[in-house]
Amino acid sequence: MPRRVVVTGIGILSPLAQGTAEHFDALLKGACGIGPVTAFDVGEFPAKYAAEIKDFRGNKYLKNRKALKVMARDIQLAVAAASLAARDAGIYDGVANPERLGVSMGAGLVPGELDELASAVAVCLDEAKHFSLKKFGKEGIGALPPLWLLKYLPNMLNSHVAIEYNAQGPDNCITVGNASSLLAIGEAARVIERGQADFMMAGGAESKVHPLSLVRLFLTNKLSTAADVATRGPRPFCRDRAGLVAGEGGAVLILEGKDHAKARGARIYAEVGGFGSSCGGQLQAEISSDGRGAKEAMTRALADAKMEARDVEAVFADASGLPEDAVEAEVIAEVLGKGRLTIATRAALGHTMAGSGALDAAAACLSIDKGVLPGTFGVECEPDLPIEVTSKSREGKFNALLVNTFTFGGQTASMVFKRHTAE
């Protein structure tokens, strides 16, 4: 029988809070992390709101503080989440055999800091004031910091986490847009299942609160330009959904072999039930119009968990306030049955993209552990929706929750987390 995998630590950094318990509390209370962009001046740009993490100080979380200057914000957020998770799981020096401690991170297309490159290209203009590669090759390169490239390589999320925690085990970095961190958690569970590690630090983080990221989102017509998103949120699944709001954040889970966790008497939040991935084949939308890739991933996760549709009590949806939310609602109803309770945390957190799946996986584990599910900020169920969505949190004993993440490019990922039992 394959080795079972449990969650024994959670670390969260979100627009709601820097800390796991604080984040989940705020989510339950119906808080919203969206406000005016303060990280930089957006001027006349039509999208003026984002879900920012305020007063984030990476050095609070790091042993090796010198490393901060070679970390883009995505990387700092991931390392910080890993630090909270490691502390939560009680992974101190000596608890984990370094060769049995691995890292699996989901990363985005990490954008460079504009100032660094801008200051270098600005000295490389020709007579017509155009950027000149000839000058860049000669003078521009020297104007950049020596370790410039390292700041933005996606696998640096892994590298920094591995160095901080001396994790010498299996090490993979998944780069699948918005599905990155859920896929990273699913892949990490497989590594433990097949016996190649006892612990995996798994998750991911991303900041979309960056001028280049805002431009890219705006160009694909996804970004919300509504004036009321700060007060009402992007309203996933609603007829008057407002579009996607850029967010930043991430989460890291400590996955552990169940036998290993029991032997060391670790506190267990939940067990990994099942995992599935697929691809819908579309390019720009978050989910294909026929919902096929989404349906396939959910079906695979259920089968992998050896569960029936009725066993899953609620879904953490990918919905972020875009037209394709309606397709996801149909797919959830088709796979799990009509009226299934559905939560869209992007309503409060904005879209943290590569961080989003890990944030929802963490929320699912906390919901099972605490016996209460958060609501969806700013959303009340609409009569013709085939699923149930509510702004209110709900108490109950939850045995199995499903998490969806889908992405532009076509990939889909679903995971089932279930209540941990003694046997």
């Binding site: 297309l109 590669l133 780069t175 691809c279």
Partner: protein
Amino acid sequence: MGKDGRRVVITGMGLVSPMASNVEDTWKGMLEGRSAVDYTTIYDASTFPTTFSGQVRDESVISRFESDPELKYSGRNLRFALVAGQQAFEDAGLHEAEINKERFGVYLGAGEGPPDWMTFGNLLAEAWTGAKTDTAAFLKNAVTRMNALRELFQEPNIAAGLLARRFSALGPNMTCLTACAASGQAMGEAGHIIRRGDADVMLSGGAHSMIHPYSQAGFNLLTALSQRNDDPKRASRPFDKERDGFVLAEGSAMLVLEELYHAEARGVRIYGELMGYGTTGDAYRLTDMHPEGRSAKSAMRMALEDAGIEPKDVDYINAHGTSTAVNDKIETVAIKEVFGEHAKRIPVSSIKSMVGHLIASAGAIEAIACLLAIRDQILPPTTNYEHPDPELDLDYVPNVARKAAVSIALSNSFGFGGQNVALVFGRYPL
């Protein structure tokens, strides 16, 4: 071996390399010891510290997508991926009408696409105030001058998405980007997906092009690239005493991984078996390998254990061999420790001496070299090996391809940042 004894074999291969836009011509070039490295022409690199690269020279691979309304905005990496993926699919004798779409997945080690560097550079220059970036001006100008698809196509997951769309593959679909280890890692993980029973066929491999001004600048700043500008063809010289850095290259290598009985039932040619996979993290430093190569060693050991073989069973090691001072030294140390008394006997070569370093695609093109070495019983050489380094004393198959009995080959891929991968390939049947 996986659940219910499921084993993984390779039944198709496709390749766009600096040498040629197909598998056989690239292989022929390698066996002849030809260098595919030359001066960079994708952009004007004449003033850069390094002026040459392993650039794909076959313009037809690029131009064939120019009339496609979407793909004309795609970067070189995606065009390479689509061409190599199609080749691999056809080489495996797969047909869209017959394949079980739910049991067919894609797992790539794929890189980000080249940025729209002139547009981006000009936008940044115009927004620079002399002290900081005027972000409001950047945003205002960028939304009118950047192209939505050109930006979207830079995302690393697009190659695997486009290939899934092309073949209607509904199985597991993933992309990893562990730098230079990425496509080796992708193949190892894809193999596990088949072994576990989650798919019967996986298209796996890599696609990447970092030959653009910003990446080149980044690597030059790290002093990782060879600067032998007067003699590009002799610049990549793994294990040679006068090596001075790696040669940045680009391309895509794709392999069809298939469950053994599935392949046998189709009666398709089998190149070999993917027997073992090891993955570890160095957890040491961002820029340097651990001095004793601790996780390079553990990756090789994990792959051998996974394959159920002993060091003595390995007939050939396809090295990561980048031609950097540190990698080649530490890789040699690690091989000597893992293989012990057998290390001196086992031939070790690096095809990067001829095609350069394809970064995320490196592991996959090297997998192809291993499988063809097994098929043809011949080892590709390490070219430009002229000055033995006293510390580096393995048999590097210097300069000339060599006939050899090869049943089992091990291939290393060590990622910049510390992700290390080793794969073991075997002749099938052994």
